[in-house]
Symmetry: C2
Subunit: 819 residues, 2 copies
């Protein structure tokens, strides 16, 4: 649901409420009184029992009518039992965010009037720094708990959005960390550990990692907040050519499903122990996901061995969509029953409370079905300490002092700087040091120059401040050194707004141009229809480029634009991408421009040429190219570009021996293979970060072969310059790193020749090794029932995975490390 | 440009202004002082001379630099000559509207704080009543002059948008009166007469026409305001699948061009004598229209014999688009020169003022080119009385008392009621008289129930009031009889907002449901991606329909939705379409619901089935179907449905004799053929209107043949019931009515058998006649230069024009006239 509608919806909820809030006016809920309330002597209040046992004891007290009423997102509770109402719908995509369960005080200067607003996930993903992700998530959960303790939020949050950013047009791609399945899986494990307060072991380590999380809480016995991995699965279309998210039936073959669409969700459920999932609006291969018993039970709960306390909530109102427009069920009651029985435990909306009554009366569901769902939901609350004494839970003492701390605010700035990506730098345009700008007039131009709310992207709350690029430059250089002018926006370029540009540029010695796209062209419900820069923007920038003055262009927005015209224009000195950088975005981007922070982010999505979408239907979910139809394939793994190689070392491994070493590891794919040590030297003349991306190449397993696959990444910080500047990164690989998924969905280790490369376009270093012996299955796959569409064998085309994670315009050699 | 951006643009203009406003703060311009100012003795101030002579005398005084500065929409004037700055950009699509040249007082209760807001053209078009169009336009121009006289507006307005509503997805289709070329041509003649203050002769007449215009001004010697026919030509895509309006190259064959895309513009230029044209963003057959010498000179000025005082303004900033993204010219100066030389006289934006200097210096243009443009622009101002004594111009005395008159406000309500269309009525659901509702509880439901600004569509100002449907029902029945609840909107249907619906519906005896689409899915820059009702809306309405209570659904929005599910649902008693009904929309629609006003509007666009767009590329500009590609064709003329015939009379005409009778008629196509008298009886039991549509059928001229073509329409008002209720309409036909356009663009009269039908699905009456003799050209066509794309011969397919203007769901027999 679009955030703009929250307030309206909240009003509507109040008008049509079936319940009365029992706590203070603002409270999202109240904790039950386990000392002297009606539940005091019920086992749910006994901390010595396991969560499921405690939840069952509670649920046994409910009437059927009460149970049905408890299956919706604005839960009325059971007042006669002292069980409070509870609003399950809380958002925290990149900071505590406006949503039905979250309220900010009206005055943003007063307590709980604001919370730290970090960069959107697309920018955080660009940092390729999971320690940073963990630190950010830990801060968000600290602030969320502080809000919760004071009646301003619930205990569970509907974040992260972990669908891969498959198509460059997707309006919600900005909510994800990028397009790569491995990257998403790694990122989300760090994120969930930070949100849920579980221990986080970095997959690798660097010799000079100096991050600190600002959460000093070490309580591990209670969950900090519950995260919710969404949207399960195959959801990545808002509206394209008559296809709406509510009605799209994604046709996905098994190999793509297992290899691309599901790994991030497996990481959530099996490896990170996330507390909740959200099923999506769309259908997959004919079945609406919220009514898909195979997906929610066979895959999620059984194959991934997901926690018995994990619950599934429907997107809003995906249960309704099972009836209309999917027409999966022939009645409203039938749709509600199908969703509940398939494993959807909670309905965002009111479809369950309205139509499960009829479903129950007509025998489509029984009490056991309701009990299963409610047991999961309340066991999840038990794990959050809902029924336990506050004094034993350090999280319960978090308060307003723990929100917007200096550490949190610095982290927001750091995260934005780390996520800033250098796409072009010629003539030593960057760093544009303060020294270089001294005594000069700097023009701050463009439609993003005064961006404030824009910098937050979607799903945001009230931040303590929003520092625009113009603000940052004025703070740094003083108002008198700065001239500002607006310029044509992406959506409506008319020259009536241009005169000021010429005047300002004429006056200035240095030109900083801030522009890009925003939620007017990419947002929830709204996919893009073009990857091109607007003609007027290219015209204005092109005209400025003829001035001979230093010109830095900063591109914002989650989706990429084809920047070929800017890359090719010799008058454009530097091009940076900043995504949606959050509350301190202007300052952070300026940090990178001035060299105060190194430009070491990497694009987490491919920058396609503008004509790409003309050949590609958004609803074609295939990843592999198809020679017959001319389908070019998707993501960096499939995109054509050139790379160069240089070998350095090699080795041989026997598959059977590798497997033998896995005893004690629960899942073979997680079994360690080796650690790659990468030593990186800073040949530039200023201290810098380096985000190491490790790719696997080789012709093994089913054809067509990926040209390369991301298997590890790690970010080294603050590498100093000179001869002794080397930083060593340890990049851990497991058997999954070397595996492929076959057409039936099995993850398999194949004998063959492998090559590992560090970095892309060109690779900085590479090493070869060989696997010998027999191919071995690492992970079986639960086949979907027959009769579903789209589970067949994919077409086999030519080899196709080409290009680098990053962009076809990746400036490659033009970005001197720390230059 | 999108109205939302006006304020921003206005600020930007001020920041970057090249000029200083010379009048009072709010004044859009000041009239030159022809008595004692610098121009007093210049011929431009001599009312006895013709407009062009006077303009030339003025222009001869300008320096080249001054001339260049005067070619942009925010004209600086020439202060040294006492020539004021002038903002050419004034909007008045359906009432005086916010725009750079138009300002409303901040307090909407004070003078010039508001103006009458009529229905959007799509609703006004649905009335099929050109006398009404004339009355509305006369009122708008009266209010516009009043604003102008008081420094709140200019004298020229960039209205109407008269591109045919070709594709149901077009976001700006709402700004047009519909899809039919004849309808648009007839409508626009009435509109321009009303705006420009020229005499208007209704093409037909009805025996009981009782309209009055509220303009009693009979001054014919001065133009009231200058209208601007836009967007010339082939403009009807905002953004579809990577095609942006700024960059689209519309491929249109000559036959479609002459027969469909241009007739409304010919009516503007040749027949209505409009004062200005606007060229468009797109290219046609490879040439950006603002740089198209053939279109602007050969077609518009020469072939259509357009006034020498007529000027062409570019859309904002279409001159820039000639450079980027069209890349028609290889430099900025080249693009500006190409546009000026092709006949674009004025540039909305600043591209001319910036780049014509270089064009001049490099010899691409000379003074004569600038003189030609400026002569047209200033001759146009001369015709508006710009240089003449105020006391001789009654229009100059219009003031605040002439704005928002009771007559104007009644006309706004009447126009909305006339434009309301009945799509379904069963079980005598309508009229839902006040008597029927007495003592009952009425539920007012839906996302449009409280619509206010929504009702105005796009390009609006501040109206004196906005009466929502809820307001209207409460006024009529009293608050205590009404319960209101919101419901899911089109863009974000979540059941959190539904509970109130069930509660309200449960309480009520009668259900009124107001819904549809709005500018979130159809607007400038934003084409629709679906023609379906949202699943959630159908679900809610479907659930309400099961209640057995009378249920009336009113659908708003300019684009049609496929209403098959509502038509087929026996629980939906009535379905009305209201478009964007303007300031009194709620009241007007309720007038129709209660029977206070008859439901006699007709859809001016085809209601396509939802799947239609899946087969049709928006950029395929063809109108005819293509058997090979499966392209189904466009508009009611091409749509498959059944009709029934019944002959009544016949006759024979010799073509040569028909032509002989045309001596004295300037254009053969305008030569009268015959008048069809239609006598209509009211078989219902309440007084009603009847909008008569006359269609021509027959196999003559080039195949494929249209199944039918609209050739005349007329609306009879207030037809009483009973035996003596007949109203007679006189529907005038001319030779153009009988003609076809051949592949080379010639309009030709062919011998053959013709049939005229009154009304559609089924026809109420028909008559046959025959043309004998030799085929004869009525209008030659200036061929475009060779080397342009797309001017070839269209594919010949099967006969295809099927269906009725209106809708595939046209309720036909289910709408008892006046029942």
């Amino acid at each position: 649901m679009h955030p703009k509608l929250y307030r309206h919806v909240r009003e509507s909820i109040c008008k049509g409420a079936l319940y009365v809030l029992t706590g203070p006016a603002l409270a999202s809920f109240t904790f039950p009184d386990c000392t002297s309330g009606p539940l005091a002597n019920v086992s749910v209040c006994d901390p010595s029992l396991d969560a499921t046992t405690r939840a069952k004891a509670l649920i046994s007290l409910f009437t059927t009518a009460e149970k049905i009423n408890l299956t919706v997102s604005t839960s009325p509770g059971v007042p006669r039992l002292g069980l409070s109402s509870y609003v399950w719908w809380n958002e925290a995509l990149h900071g505590v965010a406006d949503s039905p369960g979250v309220t900010f005080s009206a005055d943003n200067k007063s307590a709980f009037g604001s919370a730290t607003s970090f960069p959107q996930p697309i920018t955080l993903g660009a940092a390729f720094d999971d320690d940073l992700v963990y630190a950010v998530a830990s801060t968000i959960s600290t602030e969320a708990r502080a809000f919760s303790n004071n009646g301003h939020a619930g205990l569970n949050f509907w974040t992260p959005n972990i669908n891969p950013f498959r198509d460059p047009r997707w309006g919600r791609g900005q909510e994800t960390p990028g397009e790569d399945a491995f990257h998403l899986s790694s990122y989300v494990k760090a994120l969930i550990a930070g949100l849920q307060g579980t221990e986080y072991a970095s997959s690798g380590s660097t010799s000079n990692n100096n991050h600190n999380t600002n959460s000093n809480t070490t309580t591990k016995s209670y969950r900090k907040v519950t995260a919710t991995c969404k949207h399960f699965a195959g959801y990545d279309i808002e509206s394209w050519n008559g296809n709406f998210r509510y009605q799209v039936d994604a046709s996905i073959n098994t190999q793509d499903m297992v290899e691309y669409y599901l790994p991030s969700f497996q990481a959530c459920a099996r490896d990170a122990g996330v507390g909740a999932f959200m099923c999506s609006y769309n259908a997959v291969n004919g079945v609406p996901t919220c009514a898909d018993d195979w997906l929610l039970n066979d895959v999620l709960r059984t194959h991934w061995n997901w926690s018995s306390t994990g619950s599934v909530v429907s997107d809003c109102d995906a249960v309704q969509n099972v009836f209309l427009p999917h027409r999966w069920a022939d009645s409203r009651a039938g749709a509600a029953a199908a969703a509940l029985k398939a494993g959807t435990d909670l309905n965002c909306g009111t479809y369950f409370s309205h139509h499960l009554v009829e479903a129950y009366d007509s025998g489509l569901i029984e009490d056991a079905d309701l009990d299963t769902a409610l047991t999961r939901l309340y066991a999840g609350l038990v794990e959050l300490g809902f029924f336990d004494p506050a004094e034993e839970q350090p999280y319960r003492s978090l308060g307003w002092n723990d929100v917007n701390t200096p550490e949190a605010q610095n982290l927001a700035r750091l995260a934005a700087a780390e996520g800033t990506v250098l796409l072009k730098n010629i003539n030593n345009t960057l760093p544009l040091t303060v020294e270089k700008m001294q005594g000069k007039k700097v023009a701050v131009l463009g439609d993003w120059a005064t961006a404030t709310t824009q910098m937050q992207g979607s799903y945001y709350g009230t931040p303590p401040y929003l520092h625009s690029p113009l603000y940052a430059v004025q703070e740094l250089l003083g108002n008198e050194s700065v001239v500002y002018a607006y310029a044509p926006s992406y959506t409506d370029p008319t020259s009536d707004s241009w005169d000021a540009i010429w005047e300002a540029a004429g006056e200035a010695d240095i030109l900083l141009y801030f522009t890009g796209i925003d939620d007017t062209v990419e947002s929830e419900g709204n996919d893009r229809v073009s990857l091109s820069w607007m003609g007027s923007q290219l015209d204005v920038i092109g005209d400025l480029a003829m001035s001979g003055k230093p010109l830095v262009v900063v591109q914002f927005g989650g989706g990429q634009l084809d920047s070929t015209p800017l890359i090719e224009n010799p008058g454009v000195g530097a091009l940076l991408w900043g995504g949606y950088p959050g509350q301190d975005g202007g300052t952070a981007v300026l940090d990178v421009i001035t060299g105060a922070y190194p430009p070491a982010g990497r694009l987490p999505v491919t920058q396609y040429p503008a004509h790409y979408i003309a050949n590609v239907s958004m609803t074609d979910m295939a990843l592999r190219p198809d020679q017959e139809t001319g389908f070019p394939g998707r993501t960096y793994r499939c995109f054509t570009a050139q790379i160069a190689l240089s070998d350095t070392t090699s080795n041989t491994f026997d598959i059977a021996s590798l497997i033998t070493n896995c005893s004690g590891v629960a899942y073979l794919d997680l079994c360690p293979f080796a650690t790659v040590s990468a030593t990186v030297s800073n040949t530039g003349n200023v201290q810098s970060d380096y985000a190491a991306l490790l790719f696997l190449k080789g012709e093994f397993g089913p054809a067509p072969y990926p040209l390369k696959t991301l298997v590890a990444y790690e970010r080294a910080h603050n590498i100093s310059t000179g001869l002794n500047s080397a930083a060593t990164l340890e990049l851990a690989l497991n058997l999954a790193s070397l595996s492929r998924v076959d057409e039936s969905g099995k993850r398999v280790l194949y004998p063959g020749s492998y090559c590992i490369e560090l970095d892309t376009m060109p690779a900085l270093a590479s090493l070869n090794f060989t696997l010998t012996g027999k191919e071995t299955v690492l992970d079986e796959w639960p086949a979907a029932p027959t009769g579903r569409k789209g589970s067949g064998t994919p077409e086999v085309g030519p080899d196709y995975y080409v290009g680098g994670l990053g962009t076809v315009n990746d400036a490659g050699g033009e970005i001197p490390l720390g230059a």
